[in-house]
Symmetry: C2
């Protein structure tokens, strides 16, 4: 008998039929003798409908009241899920975030979980109930309803698993696991049986949409065993996200590379010919950060003539805003030779814990791209990742070729 937390997203609860399917699946686990906690999102489209309703009243809804409104989406789903479980003859009881008492800070719309009281849930589990919890929501110390932000239901699942010391947290999505890369780009992409947390984190933050970065971080921090599964397939083990130590046990030889992520949502901003003095990076990037623009890659190169070039990437939607800030606020102070933007780029990341102990991954990557005539515009590396920026039109070619070069195909 295990305690399993299962998280289902909006498409898995989109209508009565899907909710019945979900209940059947939960029921099968229950019949095997497991204790089950189900975390559900709002029915797909519902959160957007509620946000639109708020925007009909005001273009700038107060975050506290917006949370009161949108948290009803998950509340409806927990009730419906319990009804479907009852219909199959199972005992089930729903909990809103406030009822569990998922205590968060006061940051409406992007609250962070501080503590979870697992007492009542554990009692219900011991009494044979399936416990159904609203994802994405909690309450602050004063009882105000808070939400965790988009994708927060994954985080709720992981946090509940940590609080209840669950044996496993299963994330049901519309894909059946984590792949070596997006199968829509590379049909030969292979599902990974397991992947380490660090790799998953790199893949998630590099553009893989399967799991929210934040929930992976949370799982890593609290050592929650996480598994990604398909909610539309009856069988399949999905992908287990493991701690590196565990995975080493049964993998004598680690794969060099686990996966390839890509992202075409970024744009590149370059400042050429800046006087190479201390503090110049801050002078350039400080005003950008002050404008709440998220910066991803940052590269600085020293030139020969006492000047330096700085390049960074931002979301495509924010490139013009960033350029405006640089031209109006920064240029008068630093007198750069040129400031330019390019939103015709894509970022490709090769990820794998194996590259720690293997030299040559970078050079293999660069050679592969060079053989295809693809020019590399930026390079950024971490211990288990090499990311490059290339011209956008080469993105799919690059991903396919690298996938082949690193022998990631289905065998």
């Amino acid at each position: 008998m295990a305690l399993i937390v299962q998280k289902y997203g909006g498409t898995s609860v989109a209508n009565a039929d899907r909710i019945r399917n979900l209940a059947s699946r939960v029921g099968r686990f229950k019949k095997k003798g497991h204790q089950i906690v189900v975390v559900v999102s709002a029915m797909s489209g519902e959160t957007n409908r509620l946000i639109a309703l708020a925007h009909e009243v005001t273009p700038t809804p107060d975050p506290r009241e917006l949370d009161v409104i949108i948290s009803t989406g998950e509340q409806v789903t927990i009730g419906l899920t319990c009804l479907a479980l009852h219909e199959l003859g199972f005992k089930a009881k729903s909990y809103t975030g406030s009822q569990v008492r998922i205590l968060t800070d006061e940051s409406h719309g992007k609250a962070r979980i501080i503590d979870i009281d697992g007492h009542n849930m554990q009692k219900d589990l011991d009494d044979g109930y399936v416990v159904v919890v609203a994802g994405f929501q909690g309450c602050d110390a004063k009882g105000n309803i808070t939400t965790l932000g988009r994708g927060g239901s994954d985080t709720t699942g992981v946090a509940l698993a940590a609080a209840l010391k669950a044996d496993e947290c299963q994330i049901y999505t519309d894909v059946d696991g984590v792949y070596t890369t997006d199968p829509r780009v590379v049909p030969e992409a292979r599902r990974l049986d397991r992947i380490t947390f660090e790799e998953m984190l790199e893949l998630a933050s590099q553009g893989s949409k399967v799991l929210q970065t934040r929930s992976v971080e949370f799982a890593g921090k609290h050592k929650v065993k996480l598994r990604v599964l398909s909610s539309f397939q009856e069988v399949g083990e999905g992908t287990l996200i493991t701690f590196e130590e565990d995975s080493k046990d049964d993998n004598m030889e680690e794969p060099l590379i686990s996966g390839i992520a890509f992202n075409r949502d970024e744009a590149k901003v370059t400042i050429l010919g800046v006087p190479d003095t201390p503090g110049i990076a801050y002078q350039v990037l400080g005003p950008v950060a002050d404008a709440n623009i998220d910066v991803d890659m940052i590269i600085q190169n020293q030139g020969a003539d006492g000047t330096t070039d700085i390049t960074f990437t931002v979301h495509k939607n924010e490139m013009n805003k960033a350029l405006e800030i640089l031209r109006n606020k920064v240029q008068p102070l630093i007198h750069a030779r040129e400031i330019k933007g390019d939103d015709n780029i894509a970022k490709i990341s090769v990820v794998g814990v194996g590259m720690r102990s293997h030299v040559g991954v970078a050079s293999q990557m660069f050679r592969t791209l060079s053989e295809e005539g693809i020019n590399i515009q930026m390079i950024s590396t971490s211990e288990i990742k090499i990311a490059v920026v290339i011209e956008e039109k080469y993105m799919e070619l690059a991903v396919r070729t690298l996938h082949q070069a690193f022998e990631l195909e289905e065998t």
Copy 2:
């Protein structure tokens, strides 16, 4: 400066425009220096939509989970109402039933209010906030979400007014007050400036749809000053529902009759020729009550031959069920001569505290109906009410003629 509780029904919050109107009205009271608590229902149609959603999953939804689902209707409205008030520059804060802590018993779907904690609301009012509370809902001692049943938002309004010792509880509806009778039947019907609680209770339970019986009872018990107003008219004093003592102060001569209510939703069930022995009424009506059929009027007449006749009224939808029970379960025991049903009836009630001190109201009523050739099938009286059952097709004629006979028209 007064503390006023204002309750708005589903049609008053049906869309963003109506909610903005509501906010403007609340704002005008606020600007006059009043402290305002707003109680809102779900947007019209929303509760039915949510119930339908539950029924898509199961024909017999568990009451606890159904409450979790349908209570979201009012939760959305409180958020939207606060947003509309913010948009006009007012401070406003929403409360769900659980957040106020409107403590109820555990009867999901028809919970009764036990206690209200007014502490936080009073603090917010003193800090200049408009407090916006979800009607129709509360929570039990264990924190389970409960609902008060249809029309429960009126009760929430009255209960909050009692807990906060408000100066007045204003119920905004789609009519501009309580009328001598339904203006759709009698165009000359007159709005009453004031009416006593007892009269309002009789009118409410006799088919007048303006206020829910239960909220009137609650207001009477806790001496809450209640006023019915139109949410679609800018001016108007509506109808004040008073305690008899107050109303006597400024009405030297009481009107004989305050209003005429009618109801065509009932059907009549008659058991003829029952042995007239003690306990016979219970033998007949016990099984009907056991089947959860609500009985309204009950009349028993002694016959000359040692037998008696019993007649009672039930909702039209339940007549056949009642007949079936009588024929299958009761008849074998009591051997009645005949059991028959008639759903072709209407009930008309003449209500007025004045009839206590004036003889002749009943005889005037009977004479008026007789002059129109309308046969009276049943009569039932209370201290301030005379109700008769007649053939349904005469209902409108009877109401119009009585309205004229008792001189209730607009003058």
